[in-house]
């Protein structure tokens, strides 16, 4: 699987650029690069539903982030204790990656998942639900409560945004 490694390296490079560049607009466009890389990775990993979803969601969040940050270019600030903060963060991340490496040894090998529960889904999806796309069958028929929770989360986000943007709160200084 050399192609998934290449796509992951591209995503890491785009993420580092997005984190380190000083212009906010360039940073957001680099995040768009990470999202497009994720879309390609989903296509390589045989998940076309997720690729479509990731592409459209990426475009929408990119538009809204650009609307939020346009003409608000603030200067980059460097704090006083630069060495201490960076050193402690890097040490923490090293410990995190080491622990993750130990934990990942217990996970199954890449490319051979254990599909005990899934065999039922795979074999009975078409006879029970009549849908050819098994991902949609799971999302709508077998796990419809998950989808209901998803819609609830979207409504919660709408309520939160409208509560933040309402007029009476804005007038108060």
């Amino acid at each position: 699987m050399i192609e998934i490694h290449l796509i992951l390296l591209f995503m890491i490079a785009a993420a580092v650029i997005a984190v380190e560049v000083k212009d906010l607009l360039s940073s957001i466009i680099a995040v768009g690069g990470v999202g497009i890389g994720l879309c390609m990775a989903f296509l390589v990993l045989k998940a076309p539903d997720l690729a479509i979803m990731q592409l459209v969601v990426e475009i929408l969040s990119l538009i809204i982030l650009i609307r939020a940050t346009i003409r608000k270019d603030v200067p980059f600030s460097v704090s006083g204790r630069w060495v201490f903060n960076t050193t402690s963060t890097v040490i923490f991340l090293a410990v995190f990656l080491f622990a993750a490496y130990i934990a990942l040894k217990t996970v199954h090998q890449f490319g051979s998942p254990e599909m005990r529960v899934l065999r039922t889904y795979l074999e009975e999806a078409f006879p029970l639900t009549g849908s050819l796309n098994i991902v949609e069958a799971i999302a709508i028929n077998f796990r419809a409560i998950d989808t209901l929770g998803e819609a609830t989360a979207i409504f919660a986000a709408v309520i939160g945004v409208l509560a933040i943007a309402r007029k009476s709160a804005r007038r108060k200084e």
Partner: protein
């Protein structure tokens, strides 16, 4: 800066408006197609809803805020949104085994309507918020 403030209200240039007028129907149709054909092909209700919301955002960016909001009938949209939410909630909570027409057409359409209206509402709220902010900034 001043020129950008004007383009926010009146929309973009004539070329973009013409192209938007041509492509709007195709984008809406593609969103509905993605939502409805989710059971035989890759796609699904939420992806279709996001595409429909993107077409509305497209109109709003091209024509300006006023023209886009005048095209929408708010009361009818409110009825459709409430109805689709109620249908979705009823199907899921009652929990009958849905197949055929219900699971292939009705639930994806409900998902698409919910997602599109919610995301477009968030976009409108954010645009109005940042526009008030910009006006206050220029006033100072």
């Amino acid at each position: 800066m001043k020129r950008m403030g004007n383009t926010e209200d009146r929309g973009m240039t004539l070329i973009i408006k013409t192209v938007t007028r041509i492509t709007l129907g195709f984008i809406l149709l593609y969103g509905i197609y993605i939502a409805v054909s989710g059971h035989v092909e890759p796609g699904g209700g939420f992806a279709g809803g996001v595409i429909v919301a993107l077409s509305l955002v497209h109109v709003m960016l091209a024509f300006g805020k006023e023209a886009a909001l005048n095209r929408l009938h708010a009361s009818g949209l409110r009825v459709i949104l409430g109805l689709s939410t109620l249908v979705f909630l009823t199907i899921v909570v009652l929990g009958f085994r849905c197949r055929g027409l219900v699971s292939e057409i009705i639930i994806p359409i409900c998902q698409a309507v919910i997602t599109a209206s919610a995301l477009f509402a968030i976009f409108v709220a954010l645009v109005l918020l940042s526009k008030k902010d910009r006006d206050a900034e220029e006033g100072k």
